[in-house]
Amino acid sequence: MAQFDVRETMRLGLLAGVVAVTVSMVGMVESFNQRDVITRYLTLGQLLLFTAPVVAGFLTVKRAGDRSWRALPNGALAGLFAALPIFALLLLTLAVPTIRQQLVNVSPTLIRILTFDNGQLVGGLLMMAAMGGLGLLGAVVYVVPDRISDPISLAVGWTLLVGLLSEVLLNVLRPLLSREVVRFLFGTRGIQWQTAVIIFLILAIAVFLWRNGGRTYYQRIPRQVLHWLALALAILIVWIPRDFSWLPPSINPLWIKIGLTLIPLILEALLFFSTRSATQPALVKSITDNQLGRARLASRYLIVLLILPAILGVYLTEVVDNIGLFILMGLGLNIVVGFAGLLDLGYVAFFAIGAYVTGILTSTGPLGVAGLSFWVALPIAVAASTVSGLILGIPVLRMRGDYLAIVTLGFGEIIRVLAVSDLLKPYIGGAQGVLQIPKPVLFGFTILQPQHFYYIILAGVFLALFIAGRLRDARLGRQWMAMREDEDVAEAMGIHLVNTKLLAFGIGAAFSGLAGSIFAARLGSIFPHSFALLISINVLSLIIVGGMGSLPGVVVGALVLVGLPELLREFAEYRLLLYGALLIAMMVRRPEGLWPSPVRRRELHAEDDLAMQEPA
């Protein structure tokens, strides 16, 4: 039996309590309380507050490693300790009624939240009891067998997530469901408790079954059946009634639906006949298992990606557009930082250059110089960003690490200061920015809505993914990585450092210029304050969180760091605080990122191929 260390319990409990008090005192709890997770029963603020004791209770018993019921009181104790800092805060408000002059965020509303509207003393004791109970709950999660606790905690987690994202879901589901059903499922904010119970039960039972034998049944299902199921699901999503009002009037949505249905079917037919006509059975098998499966899966995803704007509606598509632009920038910076290891903190500069060049070349306002169409201005803007990437690259060729970061930081600021400066005001408008940037026109149709820009951004992201992926797997990618690992040795191996670095800066800048150019056309006007240092930091953070040098990591990082704060608008105000917390947590728990790049198998994989060819 493990020995419990009261000091450890106290440490964890108080730590959780300090976290809870901190989030209260910076105003997070109060502002998050505006949003219900489960209507009338649980707000986001409470969720934030009450996670602390649960975690404390869980960790306390986990550290001791005791899975018997005797461990439970310790969890409760940790919860009680977690409540102490809050209780102290409440007592402080009693003792010093004017405390709000110092602690601005300790408002009467916060106190009402912390005391369940019961006055400091009674409420404080209630809070202690509640947190003690939650600590106990955390301990229970650890003590009961995984077989039971895993499905329950997973189900709770997902239910809460659904509650958090209820607005998004409501947007997506509203056109599908009748008003009565929507009212039954969703409250004014958050989901109704019935919905929570339903989701919880479904998930808990599903996970329980999966864990207890379901998985083996799943593995027995032939891959083919799963492929067809996925296809059926994708096609079902296509045919669900949607808002297509944003489509050009000349295009009938029906054609799109038919097209999106037929394309994968034709692909299937082609694959079927091509594998039939091939002569080498062994080779065919290797194609069938790997590339074929991947092509099929990709086609399913592609269908969903293509129909996405119709599913999401205007607001959410706007959010996705934003994420897409950050993915584009992330892919570019990933080349510079992730592949080549050159820490660039002024990356926003190229975004700005792409945006301004597009703006000035296309604007119909007084600052416009050429009145070019977007499609002509786009490559020019990308070229301008690339050239400026090279220009930045030349002076910093000899610099490494911290020095490089400082110089690039300066470069980013120079571009921003130039943009607001009086010097360039006659050309790029100073703080007033460039206005009247026309929307792109494609085959006589004006690209206007977020849904339209979605496709341009999607194409840009695919292009960038394609280029970055191919470069990574080629000679240049190896040169970059060798340079990242050891610059001196790379040079001694015959790598021309100047060329290699400049290519990284240039290509990285090109992606950012592309993003900037689309950004300018999408907004219709650009202002210097859109190009603050914060953008560079955002992009860098999303790479770190996603996984340095990993392409899917960039996408995941952008979804987490750009997408989530947009969806949970309350978070926006505390974005930097959360970035900081998240980055620290990542560095400690998962320094390789959420989706690290896999090690490429080149030796053995290729030998397998050879082995396959030999018998034939």
Partner: protein, 264 residues
């Protein structure tokens, strides 16, 4: 004409003369060692040859080219490659990728070709991969090509570093303490391996080594450095009995009585 020739090379770091008027030459197909006490300037000399340092006086010629003013990558292209005293692999890359980086001087394809998958680029990459695989087997690392360099055991890392250096098909290979940290059996294997490199691939080899069994066993010519100066040069038998060498290693008293062979 020797493959590599250094004429009265001087390298200073501030007031310290790390290499002082060093004359040195190595013939094509030879195995030559440089020995000397710690801080004698051996690795500094390597760094001068491979272009990490620019020499202050004198000249170094390789295969008819002066290395003066050439950067390390240009010197690598001339046909010199090297390993390092403390292993310097690209640790987050796989073994096979390390070797493919070593092939750099022989690769021609551009990044545009890589994006468009032009036939020439694809062909070159395939050949490079094929060759890297052979090289991996050649140094006895077959089957370990997909392991990250940092996850390989120490001995394998040493071999991989040599494989990476060989990948450029160098005419001159500089080995900086190739057997450092190896046990006697590994040392013997490595010695055989170095001999084989010369005998089968015809690569000229210049090595820095502390293990006298290795040095005396395979070198045809030995240069002894002390405080940046050449104090002796000649075949192993001559060096073993040279009183100045013994003095440099063991001090004046020992030089009078002992021979280096017994002591080391």
């Amino acid at each position: 004409m020797p493959l590599l020739e250094a004429k009265s090379v001087v390298k200073r770091f501030g007031g310290l003369v790390a290499i002082n008027k060093l004359d040195f030459s190595i013939d094509e197909g030879a195995i030559v060692s440089i020995i000397g006490p710690n801080g004698a300037g051996k690795t500094t000399f390597f760094n001068c040859i491979s272009g990490f340092y620019q020499i202050d006086e004198g000249e170094i010629n390789f295969a008819g080219h002066s290395t003066k003013g050439r950067s390390p990558d240009q010197i690598a292209h001339l046909g010199i490659s090297r390993t390092y005293q403390n292993i310097r692999l690209f640790s987050a890359m796989t073994a096979i990728e390390n070797i493919m980086v070593g092939m750099e001087p022989r690769l021609r394809s551009s990044w545009v070709g890589a994006v468009l998958r032009l036939p020439g680029t694809v062909h070159e990459e395939e050949e490079a991969l094929q060759e890297a695989r052979q090289l991996l087997k050649f140094v006895g690392l077959g089957g370990k090509g997909d392991i990250l360099a940092r996850n390989l055991p120490y001995g394998d890392q040493r071999r991989l570093e040599i494989a990476r250096a060989l990948a450029s098909k160098p005419r001159l290979l500089l080995l900086d303490e190739p057997t450092a940290g190896m046990n006697p059996r590994e040392t013997a294997e490595t010695t055989q391996f170095i001999k084989m490199l010369r005998d089968e691939l015809g690569i000229t080899i210049l090595l820095i080594e502390h293990d006298m069994r290795v040095v005396m066993g395979i070198s045809e010519d030995i240069t002894v450095l002390d405080y940046g100066q050449k104090i002796a040069q000649g075949p192993p038998a001559k060096i073993q009995n040279d009183p100045r060498v013994i003095e440099a290693y063991l001090g004046r008293g020992a030089a009078a009585s002992a021979t280096i062979q017994v002591a080391l």
